[in-house]
């Protein structure tokens, strides 16, 4: 499982601040950000902590500037990240597609809020499709990791930096307002994911390249930048191979009591925590229900879902949107089982603070299990 290189302390922390501990333990010393609720604690943490650690923090003029500063910093070969919420995320789309074209690693934490775009300043899960399908100039993929606890907010950011460098690609950590604001015990630890190749491609200055050759990067690979790829399709084929590799080796998910389950709940993030609670209550009532919790939303654990379908169980997708994750579940199930949806209209209150709570999920389970 996770190889812990260094354990330093156990503290009570918010999901948002846990992101900071994870990032610096992954060796990230550069953060560019912009204020937006519900993730302000993240940029404030970095504003306090990075200068002390010899890092550099900058609050830019807008999120479009932020993502392009990541493009610059990432091109210089340093680990760099930002954190934002849905409206800021929308402003970062072109930059993200540029990062993917130029193959520059970085981490973007998206702390979802109610949508569409401004929507509310609280929580939601309405950016699932935007995060997993990408909103910039099309043709690229980003690995998307979804924490469901304060500990995972820290651990998955470290994993995100490893995967970003491994594939030279942005990685998205998809949190939400609830996870960001809630506090839980956090083990501040450094995770070791193994060695990574040198960033020989990084821009540093001609004098620093042993071979004396200048390095050049561009987000127009294919259009006119032919130094690396023979033709446009050579470049696209390279991306295709890279994305296949990601899809083959970076699927991550968790199952809970699925072996004998007649009903499989599929949920990520805070909705998964709520579903876990409901499943335990249902099990107490003798109902055979289990949970499949995707941790990588892209690449999506469709194989695990498909296997669940072949065992004859039906599915209940629980998500705090009108229905986005459910599309991936239906795609994976491919008609072999019923896929039901319990969505944000089942929130316990109609005001923005409304949440999907365990008892409403339990009701859903009772009807289907």
């Amino acid at each position: 499982m996770l190889r812990v290189a260094k354990m330093s302390q156990r503290i009570l922390a918010q999901g948002n601040t846990a992101i900071g501990y994870g990032a610096v333990n992954a060796g990230c010393l550069h953060f560019f950000g912009y204020p937006i609720t519900p993730q302000n604690e993240v940029i404030e943490w970095f504003a306090r902590e990075l200068p002390k650690r010899g890092g550099s923090f900058l609050q830019a003029q807008c999120e479009t500037a932020v993502i392009n500063m990541l493009l610059g910093a990432g091109s210089a070969g340093v680990r760099v990240m930002t954190s934002t919420s849905s409206p800021g995320w929308a402003l970062m789309q072109e930059g993200l597609s540029a990062l993917a074209n130029a193959e520059i690693p970085c981490v973007v934490v998206l702390v979802q809020r109610g949508g569409p775009v401004q929507g509310t300043t609280q929580h939601g899960q309405m950016d699932y499709l935007s995060a997993t399908r990408g909103g910039g100039g099309g043709g690229y993929r980003d690995i998307v990791l979804a924490p469901a606890s304060v500990q995972e907010c820290s651990d998955l950011v470290q994993l995100a930096f490893y995967l970003a460098d491994k594939y030279r690609n942005p990685v998205v950590v998809l949190s939400d307002g609830l996870l960001g604001q809630m506090m839980e015990p956090l083990e501040v630890r450094t995770l070791d994911f193994g060695p990574l190749p040198e960033k020989d491609w990084a821009l540093k200055g001609l004098a620093l390249h042993k071979d004396g050759k200048r390095r050049a990067l561009s987000c127009l690979a294919g259009f006119c930048f032919q130094e690396v790829y023979e033709s446009y399709l050579d470049f696209i084929q390279h991306l295709d191979e890279k994305y296949r590799q990601m899809a083959d080796s970076e699927v991550r998910y968790e199952t809970y009591q699925t072996d004998d389950a007649h009903l499989l709940v599929v949920a990520y993030g805070y909705a998964a925590r709520v579903s876990l609670e409901a499943i335990n209550m249902a099990r107490d009532e003798g109902l055979k229900v289990g949970l499949i919790r995707p941790i990588s939303l892209w690449p999506f654990p469709s194989e695990a879902i498909r296997q669940g379908a072949t065992r004859g169980g039906d599915f209940l997708v629980v998500e705090d949107s009108l229905g986005q994750l459910v599309e991936d579940v239906r795609l994976s199930v491919n008609g072999q089982a019923e896929v039901h949806l319990l969505n944000m209209l089942s929130r316990h209150m109609r005001t923005p603070a409304g949440m999907i709570l365990p008892d409403i999920v339990l009701e859903g389970i009772r009807k289907l299990a």
Binding site: A65, G72, G74, L203, L206, R214
Partner: protein, 254 residues
């Protein structure tokens, strides 16, 4: 008699690897040459990183034998430059090489914010008074009454606003250490602009503040004039609207 070479392409010049050919008489080649001359004379080729924006100026980054981010997202050159400068803790000399559209149309927010921050980068804006690569549309620096493909009757301020004077605009920003405008329509202006460029780069070497140099540059293809006629047009039409000179030259910012 001995034959010695006096002048050829600058040391830090390199043949463009881009299949995008430059138009005959396009002076972006001269803008890149000027940058290489200044970099060579300051001896900073090994430590300079060039970021070019989208547009004709974007191609200039192909012509320099320095680390470069070639054609970053349109208008974001100053942001990408900031990212690199901050990431490497100010060590390299970072040059944002833009056209007029990239710099003061779509990139105005990035430029203004970099100036507000006094970001220690050098911004070069090649001003050819139109959007070149896309076929000669209106740019913020298009002159009044100048015909472009999107001001077919000539630029009417009532509809398309007034020409942008960027170095003058940057003077009041405390974080701006240097702001000048040059041109390359005559050998004298070439040397003068090289002086401005070296002064601007020196501000960054001395870590003082943001430095900005605008360079008026001929665009025969979209001005629908021969290259030599363009030089006259710069002298008679552009320079009266865009006077050359140093508008700010601060040795210290406190």
């Amino acid at each position: 008699m001995e034959k010695i070479k006096v002048r050829g392409a600058p040391k830090s010049w390199q043949r463009s690897t881009s299949p995008l050919t430059i138009c005959p008489g396009c002076q972006h080649g001269v803008v890149a040459e000027l940058l290489c001359d200044a970099v060579d004379e300051l001896g900073i080729q090994g430590n300079t990183i060039v970021i070019s924006g989208i547009g004709c100026a974007g191609i200039d980054a192909f012509m320099v034998d320095m680390d470069a981010f070639i054609m970053c997202p349109h208008g974001r050159t100053c942001d990408v430059a900031t990212g690199i400068k901050r990431a490497l803790f100010g060590k390299p000399i970072v040059v944002a090489l833009q056209g007029d559209g990239d710099c003061i149309a779509i990139g105005a927010g990035s430029l203004i914010s970099a100036a507000l921050r006094g970001e220690k980068i050098t911004v070069i804006m090649a001003n050819n008074a139109n959007y070149g690569t896309t076929g000669g549309q209106l740019a913020p620096t298009t002159l009044l009454d100048q015909v472009t493909s999107t001001t077919p009757e000539g630029r009417d301020p009532g509809l398309a606003g007034y020409p942008a004077h960027v170095p003058e605009m940057l003077v009041p920003f405390r974080g701006v250490a240097y702001a000048a405008r040059g041109a390359v329509n005559t050998p004298a202006n070439y040397q003068r602009t090289k002086r401005y460029l070296k002064a601007a780069l020196q501000k960054q070497i001395d870590n003082i503040g943001l430095s900005f140099v605008e360079i008026l540059s001929a665009c025969p293809a979209n001005w629908h004039r021969t290259p030599v006629e363009c030089l006259k047009w710069i002298e008679e039409k552009m320079i009266p609207e865009y006077p050359l000179g140093e508008f700010k030259n601060a040795d210290r910012i406190d």
